[in-house]
Amino acid sequence: MTIVSPVAGGLADEERLLQETVRDFARREVAPGVGERDETEQFDRVLFTKMGELGLTAVPFSEEVGGAGFGYRAWTLVMEEMGYADMAMAVALSVHVLSQSPVIRWGTQEQKERWLPEMLTGTCLGAFALTEPHAGSDAAALRLRATPAGSPVAPTYHLQGSKVWITNAPDADRYLVFATVDPAAGPRGITAFLVERGTPGFRFGRKERKLGIRSSSACELLFEGAEVPAANRLGEEGQGYRIALSALAEGRISIAAACTGLAQAALDAAARYLTERTAFGRPLAEQQGLRFMLAEMAQKVAIARAMTRAAAEAKDRGESIGEASSLAKWTASDAAMAVTTDAVQLFGGYGYSREFPVERMMRDAKGAQIYEGTNQIHRLIVADQVLKRVTGESQH
């Protein structure tokens, strides 16, 4: 049924087997319920557990910390297959990984042992809480306040404030929360905390009602004097902003890969439809104007994939990925938006119908131009790097 995309070239044997395994899993276990999950806006925890059992939640982490030992290029293969089958589930998985990778990089040995096992196996679901009602793109302006409290023997922090748009939050068990110990210090006051579901004074607010990725749950988090042990502070006070930015730079590669898969799915669906549907006595696929559209869609998918892979390979080589990951996420999410919109057009009236999958793909694509840094913010990041190369210093 699904058209195999020409993406296997240049991969290691184990990466091809990974790709094949996840494709098989995504087709058999993820794709069948995608429309129904979208309609009912239900996050499928049972499916997420299955993904964890397969090992999807541990892919890009080293074997020393309990990961599967794959690199980031391999991770993009996983995310592409997931995005192909169900963008909402892909985002849930991406955010889960986003919420644990900082623990691997910045956590103490004790934190890693306490936090990671259930996250790597997908027994626990993670969320990444940065955005606030007044601080989205300008994340450094966040107001959630962390005040040292407790006793010298049991030091804690009191958290007071709120977060919005936190993916996975209604269903999650563990939250990576960014707060400020000193609002006057701007980014240098931001500090990261590991917060568990059920912590007194921490509860959920309004659920976000979304245009797309509707089966990925998101909601508001309310902290009303929630007391978090100091042992749950990730990194030092004031290191939180760096932690958030470096995690997001990785997360963008993952989102870019999911967008590539989503765009490929829309392209394949449209190509199939053009061969099946006839008008004016011949298949639509024989109309040159439509063939040109299809070719341009394929071009966008190929560019998205190439940019995503370039960013992932840079990460695997240990290079800095700020610019490459912004370029990849911006390009791939724009590609997904354009290709899914064209797919709706090529399906005609049926494309606009909720009985067919392409309108969902179009709705699912839109969010990716907004979350994990809006595509405007990515332009700022890229321009900053370009200018830095000329002047030798940051302009931002």
């Binding site: 044997d13 087997l17 990974l18 395994t21 397969l54 541990a58 074997e63 599967a68 030992g69 794959f70």
Partner: protein, 259 residues
């Protein structure tokens, strides 16, 4: 317990085509024969429960490495791949001869084979091997239970309307069915671990076989013609529950403007 699983690399189902000599073209992408994965799953479950190891044996072209790697990632211990250009065009007798020679060099308590292959469907290799090796042959197994003392194996053999319970001394050859249970996905950790597992490659010379005893030249049968089935219009099969299926049929008809 040492279980040897025969695993054939076949063209990805749906992509089969014939080469110039009217034989299945094996230069295309290969996957493990579906039925073989079911007996592999049974072998993995048995060794997980009772200890032991699973060795894969595959006779075929270089493309067999991919399915072997996948089977190793599913949990098999090691693989033996018999590959030799001279085997090209072997008939069933030739293939059985090669497998027999390989099995004589390997240690096992049980040999598992799938019911038949998606690209051959002769279903004769397993019984031929059992005959050549003098092994008890237990076919159409829906359940396989080795005795705790390791001397005998009991299976349920499917037959129309029920099953027979058979027992045989080990070593024995068991041909299994899909009723044994769905094969697992390779775990992603398993994929990485498989990189360090042994894949031994043997040639005909390693097996002490004369290249002239196998291959097209020694084939006991010759394909004269191969006819594809008559072309029919593509069918869409809907397997959903009735309510969903009806809605889908209506959508299909509507999409084609037939209603």
């Amino acid at each position: 317990m040492r279980i040897l699983v025969l695993l054939k690399a076949v063209p990805v189902v749906g992509t089969e085509r014939l080469d110039d000599a009217l034989r299945t073209d094996r230069s295309v992408a290969l996957e493990a024969n579906g039925n073989d994965e079911y007996v592999l799953e049974a072998a993995l479950k048995l060794t997980e429960a009772h200890g032991g190891e699973v060795t894969l044996l595959s006779v075929g072209p270089p493309g067999a490495m991919d399915p072997l790697r996948k089977a190793l990632a599913m949990g098999a211990t090691r693989a033996v791949h018999v590959a030799d250009e001279a085997m090209r065009g072997s008939c069933y007798v030739g293939t059985a001869r090669v497998l027999e020679a390989a099995l004589r060099r390997l240690e096992y308590d049980l040999v598992f084979a799938g019911a038949d292959t998606s690209d051959g469907q002769g279903g004769v290799i397993a019984p031929a091997l059992a005959a050549r090796l003098g092994l008890p042959y237990l076919s159409y197994a829906s359940r396989i239970e080795p005795a705790p003392d390791g001397r005998t194996v009991t299976i349920r053999r499917l037959r129309p309307g029920g099953y027979d319970v058979l027992e045989a001394p080990m070593p024995a050859l068991v041909m299994g069915t899909q009723v044994l249970g769905e094969p697992r996905y390779p775990s992603l950790r398993g994929i990485m671990q498989a990189r360090n597992k042994e894949i031994r490659t043997w040639t005909l010379a390693d097996l002490g076989l004369d290249a002239r005893s196998v291959g097209a030249g020694a084939a006991t049968t010759r394909v004269l013609r191969a006819e594809p089935p008559a072309q029919r219009a593509g069918a869409t099969i809907i397997r959903e529950a009735p309510e969903t299926a009806v809605a889908q049929v209506i959508d299909l008809l509507a999409a084609r403007r037939l209603i």
